[in-house]
Amino acid sequence: MGGRRGRAALTALGIAFGICAAVATLGITASASQAVSAKFDEFTATEVKVKYPAIDPGRYVPRPEVTQRQRVAALNGVREAGLIARADGQPSVSNIRHDDAPWTEATVLAAQEGGLTAAGATLINGRMFDAGHERRRDRVALVDSVAATRLFSGADPGPGAMVFVADVPYAVLGVYQAPPGNAGMTGAVVLPYWTAATTTPSGLRFPDSEMIVRTQLGAADQVAREVPFAIAPEAPDDLAVLVPPDLRSLQAGVERETQALFLGLALVSLVIGALGVSNVSYVSVLERRAEIGLRRAVGASRRAVAAQFCLETAGLGLIGGVVGTIAGVHVTAATCLAKSWLVILEPMVLGGGPVVGMVTGLVAGVYPAIAAARVQPADALRS
């Protein structure tokens, strides 16, 4: 009797492994997905960039114009927009005009007010450009906080501070903080966009401009579809629109792929467990031939005998499913504890584990049940 119980326990263990793998897979992938979701980069997901094509002497191509900003800003879902251009090379930048004054090479940008905001720059002190500066073509500049520290020994240059870009003076309007990770704006000096649209006394050239658009969360895809028509309705296909990857669907896709992989492994484990149950149950049929013959002799139908064996394997499967579900929950919890993730377990997974185990056991018992039903009582009782 102890041997039979031990064999039944080992049989149920096969199904328990499969269920444990399935429950742990679903729990860990859900928990990991939630952890990724917590790190979702809202900033990157709301930025759309539009690049203009190179000048083509043979045909018309859209070029950056200051008026395009208003049309883009008017689109639904747009919070801010503006042109930004980068000067060729690394012009000299200094805080005084003097042949022997120390100077440094820095990135020089030209930006519309909306462009700087759309790019994520935040004002630390002073003020931003406005339409008046653009209209009057004022020689003003904004300085990144790193550049300000380098040029003025602090983030506050003080009133009347000047910055010389390629020996041309610009009044410092304010200091901004570049968005984290944006190397192009860190340490840069930003001039109003009119310097890119015209020939400057310094001879700076701004060959390439971009329209930077900051959207509301979730609107990036829609804005990306509409912005080419707002900028250049006559040739929208000539514009290259850079859309942030849809991290939510990427995350869902990764979760799906990971789940599919590990659920596939769990299914293999479950099939192996089911084969074990089927094999052991078949051996049990052979060992219990006399009992089967007796039951048939005293009135059990073939169907009743088959049902008995199916119920036995279903019961083993149910036990395996319960044990596997409990083990799967523990594996999920341990993994999440190690990774400092929140434990996410769907109620359906908790309830489904025992059910799947029971069904697996039931299916595994079909062949042995058929074999049991075919036992001839006269032969079985003689043996």
């Binding site: 009797m1 006399a290 007796l294 039951r295 002799a297 009135g299 009782l381 003689r382």
Partner: protein, 215 residues
């Protein structure tokens, strides 16, 4: 039975029974004797509806069994017949009450009634003190008495015994045969296949089977 024949197919067909004519009355104790391989067990299996004749007719209580489906034969067997085997054939993981209840389980009796009838049957065979015992803890004589209780729990009209004393010593054999003899009533027949002369001498009638034929 009228001209019952049983042939087992194979490379060489074996005629276990050849045109057997036999009539057993209600209330009789009949012993079926004969040498090994004569066809005694085959005859008992056909009487017990555990096997079907190759040809001929077998009427049980005026019911022509050749016209019944397998399901109908199973139902008839469950209600009308009780079995006692040489090897006892007790289910090892059931206690005595559980073993004796088996014939009732497939007839739709409620569990409480099944337990009551099984207990009564065990009391009748003198095992009231061993209701919860498992077969492994019983002696050979006790096991066969449990088997007898199982054979009578559903009040069958016919009890079939295949070498009931084959695995018992002389003392236990005598006890079991006394018990079986007491089960014969005007409403109940007992048919015993045996090699044991002491058993056949108890019977009202002896049927000899030799080479598949009955005399």
């Amino acid at each position: 039975m009228v001209a019952v024949t049983k042939t087992f197919p194979g490379p060489v067909a074996v005629s276990a029974l050849r045109r057997v004519d036999l009539e057993i009355q209600r209330g009789e104790m009949t012993a079926i004797v004969g040498p090994s391989g004569a066809g005694k067990s085959t005859l008992l299996n056909i009487i017990g509806l555990l096997d079907v004749p190759t040809s001929g007719r077998y009427l049980l209580d005026d019911t022509d069994t050749s016209k019944l489906s397998e399901r109908e034969l199973t139902s008839l067997r469950a209600v009308t017949l009780g079995f006692v085997f040489q090897a006892f054939h007790l289910v090892p993981h059931l206690n005595c009450v559980g073993n004796v209840m088996l014939p009732l389980a497939h007839q739709g009796w409620p569990r409480r009634e099944r337990t009551r009838l099984a207990t009564d049957a065990l009391l009748q065979v003198g095992l009231g003190h061993r209701l919860d015992a498992r077969p492994a803890t019983l002696s050979g004589g006790e096991r066969q008495r449990v088997a007898v209780a199982r054979a009578i729990v559903h009040s069958p009209a016919v009890i079939l015994c295949d070498e009931p004393t084959g695995n018992l010593d002389r003392e236990n054999s005598a006890h079991v045969m006394d018990l079986l003899r007491q089960l014969v009533t005007p409403e109940r027949s007992l048919i015993v296949v045996t090699h044991d002369d002491s058993v056949s001498t108890c019977a009202d009638r002896v049927v000899k089977v030799v080479d598949g034929a009955v005399s």
